[in-house]
């Protein structure tokens, strides 16, 4: 299928997704489950990666910028701005595209090949709206919290370099992460991550919804969801940065 027809089919699906639910009661029953599954269950992986990346980023920055002409706050500042601008939004979303994207695509794909989606359609239910809307909304709502959580833990990981090693003092690090702070970066990062959350969940749902065949095909749908979701994130990252930071 060509890129144009795939895009067209994606928007047609989204047209069916973004309508008022048949029953709000059913939507609000699904919504907390999705918040838990897509958001809360992602906390451990977000925590582990953020702490370690914060740690290693601080260490690498310090070791590779050991120039006496650079001010002492450089390491903290670089770590903070990298976390705020790219890691806790873009890189985190690329990681979550793997975890959450494959989860959504395989769940909906399995429902498709086991005829559960057909069963919903035969009952007269708008299956796209019932299955996809709570996932997309829940993930978009959860993403800013995951990003803030990641920013905090990333900075905390960097602080550990000061405690566990002698290459940097905690004082220098703390000055660095407070120096020339631009609050707009947080807004930029949160907005960007919400757009990425929409991309991850909707693209994964699209591939799952149109999966056909057997278990192998669900696997393919899952892979396509992750790969194409990641490419779109990278593409939109350039676009959003150009618009918001230029």
């Amino acid at each position: 299928m060509s890129l144009i027809s795939e895009t067209g089919r994606f928007f047609l699906l989204m047209q069916r997704v973004f309508v008022l639910p048949d029953r709000w009661r059913m939507f609000f029953r699904q919504f907390p489950k999705e918040l838990e599954k897509l958001g809360l269950q992602s906390l451990p992986i977000v925590a582990i990666i953020s702490v370690f990346i914060g740690f290693i980023m601080t260490m690498q920055t310090k070791l590779n910028t050991s120039n006496p002409l650079l001010p002492v706050y450089t390491t903290g500042l670089v770590t903070r701005d990298t976390l705020l601008l790219e890691f806790s939004s873009t890189i985190l979303c690329l990681i979550l595209a793997g975890k959450v994207g494959s989860n959504i695509a395989s769940e909906i794909g399995t429902m498709r090949i086991t005829e559960q989606i057909d069963a919903l359609e035969i009952m007269g239910v708008n299956s796209a709206n019932y299955l996809i809307l709570p996932k997309v909304v829940a993930f978009v709502v959860m993403m800013p919290f995951l990003v803030i959580f990641s920013m905090g833990l990333g900075l905390f990981g960097g602080y550990f370099v000061g405690i566990l090693t002698d290459i940097l003092t905690t004082g220098d690090y703390l000055i660095g992460i407070q120096y020339a702070f631009i609050p707009y970066y947080i807004f930029y990062s949160l907005l960007k991550s919400m757009i990425f959350a929409f991309i991850i969940s909707s693209v994964a749902a699209y591939y799952g919804y149109y999966a056909y065949g057997g278990a192998l095909d669900v696997g393919k749908a899952s892979t396509n969801a992750v790969v194409n979701g990641s490419i779109l994130i990278l593409f939109f990252n350039i676009l959003i940065t150009k618009i918001m930071l230029n």
Binding site: D22, R23, R25, M26, T110, M111, T114, E115, Q116, D118, A119, E121, I122, M123, G124, V125, N126
Partner: protein, 252 residues
């Protein structure tokens, strides 16, 4: 009653259904039979509206499906129950919740009334109460079929579709499921259409049988008529086994 008139359906130039016409009567178990790849599943999915037909009419008590708008189709589908080949129960819901699902979506009843109705349907298909709280994966294939039947009749449908209801079941359980479908059809006066290639089912409950061969309706009749047919392909299909050849001899 469902009437299919001159229906054609093709996929990418492959002509699967060719000018098929048939009448599926109310209160009877109507069966679509035929070899694998003959087009019977496509016919059933076209009747339900999962496939859009190229030509012809599909009338539900005079209402032509291809002429309907999406909104009308969704209203019609509330009158339809379907039993899928693999049961298609929702994994994330318990047995009771599966049966309650269509009620929660479309019934104005209170939660207590829905639970009562779901329990009634499950008891009607002879499912033990201890299974009500289990997940679909925790019950046997036969029980899953019963739950799927209970879910299909929860909204008191006027039309019931069954796609290979006996696939993957042992002969005894198959017989129970067949009898259950037959009883429900007569009790609630439903138009039931069963897609099957199980000859035991055909001989047990086939009141109006349609034989599809290479996308064409090759024969229509009852299980009593089937012993006196001179259609070679139908005879080859129905009386393929030695046992059925003997049964045919006895009946003739």
């Amino acid at each position: 009653m469902i009437e299919v008139k001159n229906v054609d359906k093709s996929f990418d130039g492959n002509h699967v259904l060719k000018n098929v016409s048939a009448v599926f009567e109310t209160g009877k178990t109507n069966m679509i039979i035929g070899q694998s790849g003959s087009g019977k599943t496509v016919l059933m999915k076209s009747i339900i509206g999962l496939h859009r037909i190229d030509k012809g009419k599909i009338e539900y008590d005079g209402r032509n499906l291809p002429d309907m708008h999406m909104r009308e189709i969704r209203i019609l589908r509330k009158e339809v129950g379907m039993l899928f080949q693999g049961s298609a129960l929702f994994d994330s819901l318990s047995v009771l919740e599966n049966v309650m699902y269509p009620l929660e979506m479309f019934s104005p009843s209170t939660k207590e009334e829905m639970i009562e109705r779901a329990r009634f349907c499950l008891k009607h298909v002879n499912l033990e109460e201890k299974a009500f709280g289990l997940a679909p994966s925790e019950i046997s294939g036969g029980m899953q079929k019963r739950v799927a039947i209970a879910r299909a009749i929860a909204l008191q449908p006027k039309y019931l579709f069954c796609d290979e209801p006996n696939s993957g079941l042992d002969p005894r359980t198959s017989l129970i499921i067949d009898q259950l479908i037959h009883e429900i059809t007569q009790e609630f006066n439903i138009t039931t259409i069963i897609n099957s290639h199980d000859m035991n089912s055909v001989m047990e409950i086939g009141e109006n049988i349609i034989f599809i061969e290479k996308g064409v309706k090759a024969w229509q009749g009852s299980k009593e008529d089937i012993f006196h047919v001179d259609n070679e392909s139908l005879n080859d299909f129905v009386f393929a086994s030695e046992l059925y050849k003997k049964v045919k001899k006895v009946n003739q």
